[in-house]
């Protein structure tokens, strides 16, 4: 007796149009939050869906479809950041960040408050997520993207230099700036604030 296996109803044929219906909003929101331009985010979603079609034979079905599409989108975001940096070199934003935070003698202008609690505890509060998103949105876009790649996506400095074609000094300077600004923003808007 020959057994013909019915096609698994959970594995649908690849359809970029269906992906757009099912995951379009999620992909778009994610891209928009990072590149901050509706046009660029729209392009990234389309590129992601097209790349998904041509790479679908490599989709093994052992991750969720959405997770797989997000993986593609993250690569597209990295490409996008590389192009943005190539078009407008980072030196243009290399104004002196330290002057904002330190006096001439190299002391903090405001004493730095100690953040109470722990990260896990903070993340259990939905409002904290909003505050964090707000503070990320206040960073210059490229600095926010680099910080996100480094801290959330786990790229090393070396990988970022290679992928984005920039120097380690550039990466360090941008991360330094992101940390100073984010810390201050969260101190003011979430923790008790810094004192004079």
């Amino acid at each position: 007796m020959s057994v013909t296996r019915a096609p698994d109803p959970h594995i649908l044929p690849p359809s970029a149009s269906r992906w757009l219906d099912d995951h379009g909003d999620a992909l778009y929101a994610y891209a928009l939050a990072r590149v901050r331009s509706p046009e660029a985010a729209e392009d990234l979603v389309q590129e992601t869906l097209l790349a998904g079609l041509s790479a679908h034979h490599r989709f093994e079905g052992n991750s969720a479809e959405r997770t797989w599409l997000f993986g593609i989108l993250k690569h597209k975001l990295l490409d996008h950041l590389r192009k943005a940096i190539r078009q407008r070199p980072l030196t243009e934003i290399e104004s002196d960040v330290d002057a904002e935070f330190f006096s001439g003698g190299g002391h903090w202008k405001l004493s730095v408050s100690r953040w109470p609690g722990d990260p896990q505890q903070a993340l259990e509060n939905a409002e904290f997520h909003q505050t964090l998103a707000h503070c990320m949105s206040k960073l210059p876009s490229r600095i926010a993207q680099l910080f996100w790649l480094r801290e959330a996506e786990g790229f090393t400095t070396e990988q970022l230099c290679q992928e984005l074609d920039i120097t380690a000094t550039n990466v360090w300077a941008m991360l330094h700036r992101a940390r100073l600004r984010l810390r201050q923003c969260l101190s003011v808007n979430w923790f008790e604030g810094d004192k004079k």
Binding site: L20, A26, L32, V45, V112, H129, L132, A152, L182
Partner: protein, 89 residues
Amino acid sequence: MLRALKNINLNCQGAARLISQHSERPLALSERVGLKLHLLICRSCRAYQRSVRFLKRIMLLAGSTMNLSADAPLSSEARERIRRGLPDR
């Protein structure tokens, strides 16, 4: 030994820089010594170091999935523009 004392007079500006770079590259001995001494006497820089680690942890736990602006669905126009560019529309 003198080289190891190079950062002996580290100020907060220099300390903050090293605190950040500490997670990017191994610090030289002189930098480690200078930073340690500075942290002993500076409450603000200790608080800064704590918040840098705090932030790191937060981004690791939440950053990858973070929708930084959740209220941004595709407009129907944008959705149609994208659909027109797909081969299987």
